[in-house]
Symmetry: C2
């Protein structure tokens, strides 16, 4: 089951509520990424303490390892990883085109070599639906063709056509109680193709829509423009998900353009590089300047890490190669984005989103 | 302050209570090792949930990185790492002799090169006391000479003499309210030298004594024999600490010979190699045999990990290189030893230690 309701609007920003099989999700929402059935370094209890309501997991990775059948036999992904909240699985489309090797793509599907062991695989829309049903997420995504940036108009156009064909095949193959299937709009940076893709997918009447083919290396302005063009073409009463985004400023820009859902590996990836979000911008804790800085990572942050540890301690852990550094920074960074979304929701409720947006940019340094 | 009381005995096994400046410690106790101001992968909250009362931290490592002065400026080790329980710091004697390079030892002290950056250092008993006072643990250890195994009688004899001299100098240099200083008995595998070392140190009237120079590569039988000889020579009313030990069976054997305190890196080190303790013995979760084993790590274990995750899930995390695997296994392994000690304490209280000891060996496979 899936039920979505827009509770309030402030400009184009939407305050909504998404009821999935497992959990009510307050939107706009940021979904941390648990690529391999774990949000790196964190437990489900950590995520709940942080206030995470829904996570994303990667079909491509789980299909290759440990395999969808194994996860199905474990009772599905929720049970396998012990996560009681909502899960969205992507379709592997992006990964097949970005990670795998020796790709051969046809209308039927995609041949590729595993990035893990080089083994040969063939994914079709039907096969992806089978895998996503085995994983058992609350929300599944259609198998799409995600072209790189930059690409020619012709390439983008072919990807749009194929994505629409595959969306039809996914829809035909997907019959699963309790799992909603979202369509993905492609079209790269070409307004005409974005419009075509949105129109063709909206005709299929999916319960939700994603904007894909963004955050693939294009300048931020291009990404914002693609969202600006696409979002208004999607049904008002359905959730809109901007894939693979983003940075704090991207979340704000997305919400300002009517986006309800986001996902990104950045908070945990930055943590592994010793970088932390703060209200003043990102800081690299590895730097010597923090060696004797006994203040918290972010003075304004009420999270567990900022309440209990100093920059100097976390820097020591990083320099000493201690895993706890990655764990504490992952916790803080995921919290930072979760809290940002909570504040955004609250601002929309009060009709103060523009004000919040401006204050963020006054404080946050790039 | 330090206060120790033997509440009950069962054979040579002692059920006691050690009051340190920070926390009451129920003995016999196992101290997990937080080498670099963190018990690898775990937070203080994890340790408290596990029931850990006291941890060990390594003076040698903290002196080299981040430096004792920095930790002193942070408000001491407890505050730096946010650990409210008790801490014991070793003296660096063992590490100087096992990790560092280009050692030059004299009666005055030890020159050595850092294993991190090759920088040259000189540690004396007085300098080590200064460092341990800066770290501010509840219990500090005397700087000792820890000879390797095997070593000649002459080498062991010289180490005993030097350890006694250094113990006198440590005692003279150590004046620190709230921190107790323990002596370390050396003597390798030579009963006569163990007796000499114990006699000389007991004369100095330390508030507690460690048996050092064990778990340095000697056969287990040799280690047990060294404990058997040494423990009865130490004052009944003072805590006895067996350094660098150990495995579950070593804890039992130590308690059976009158030991009150233990420390060892094994539970967290084994975790990093994908190995878990169970009531049936150690298992290597990396093995393919656990790929679809949806049972907990240890059926009899009530810990957080065993209540929430399967062997198959943890194996997947190991194979996928996910840090959560190390975190979950570290948690379980430390819990396993903490729980073992709790059960040992309870058995002593009931006068059933021999029974408990026999049952352990019936179940635990080597």
């Amino acid at each position: 089951m899936l039920n979505f309701e827009v509770l309030q609007m402030d400009g184009k920003a939407r305050r909504g509520r998404l009821q999935t099989t497992h959990q009510m999700v307050e939107t706009p929402v940021f979904m941390p990424v648990g690529t391999q059935a774990t949000v790196k370094t964190l437990t489900p209890e950590d995520l709940q303490e942080i206030g995470v309501q829904i996570i994303l997991s990667n079909t491509y990775h789980l299909y290759l390892r440990p395999g969808a059948e194994l996860i199905e036999r474990a009772g599905g992904l929720h049970r396998f990883m012990n996560w009681p909240g909502s899960i969205l699985t992507d379709s592997g489309g992006f990964q097949v085109f970005s990670l795998s090797k020796l790709r051969q793509i046809s209308d039927e599907g995609v041949y590729f070599n595993s990035h893990i062991d080089g083994s040969r695989h063939f994914l079709t829309p039907e096969k992806v639906m089978e895998i996503e049903i085995s994983l058992g997420a609350d929300i599944a995504m259609c198998f799409d063709e995600c072209p790189p940036y930059p690409c020619t108009y012709q390439e983008a156009s072919r990807a749009v056509e194929r994505t629409s064909q595959w969306a039809r095949r996914c829809q035909a193959a997907h019959h699963q109680e309790g799992q909603a299937l979202f369509g993905i709009v492609q079209g790269s940076v070409f307004p005409e193709l974005r419009r075509q893709s949105a129109r063709e997918l909206v005709d299929l009447n999916f319960p939700g829509y994603a904007i894909g083919g963004v955050s693939v290396g294009e300048p931020k302005e291009e990404m914002y423009r693609a969202v600006e063009i696409t979002a208004p073409l999607l049904p008002d009463e359905k959730p809109r998900y901007l894939m693979g985004v983003g940075e704090p400023e991207d979340l704000l820009e997305g919400v300002a353009r009517g986006i309800d859902m986001f996902d990104c590996v950045l908070p945990t990836r930055l943590a592994r590089h010793g970088t932390a979000y703060t209200h003043q911008g990102k800081i690299t804790l590895r730097n010597a300047t923090y060696a004797e800085d006994f203040s918290p990572v972010d003075e304004e942050c009420p999270c567990y890490v900022c309440q209990n540890y100093s920059r100097a301690y976390i820097r020591h852990l990083i320099k000493a190669g201690e895993i706890l550094a990655l764990r504490l920074l992952s916790y803080h960074n995921v919290y930072f984005l979760a809290k940002l979304m909570e504040n955004i929701r609250s601002a929309i409720e009060k009709g103060q989103f523009t004000d919040f947006y401006q204050k963020f940019y006054q404080q946050y340094k790039f």
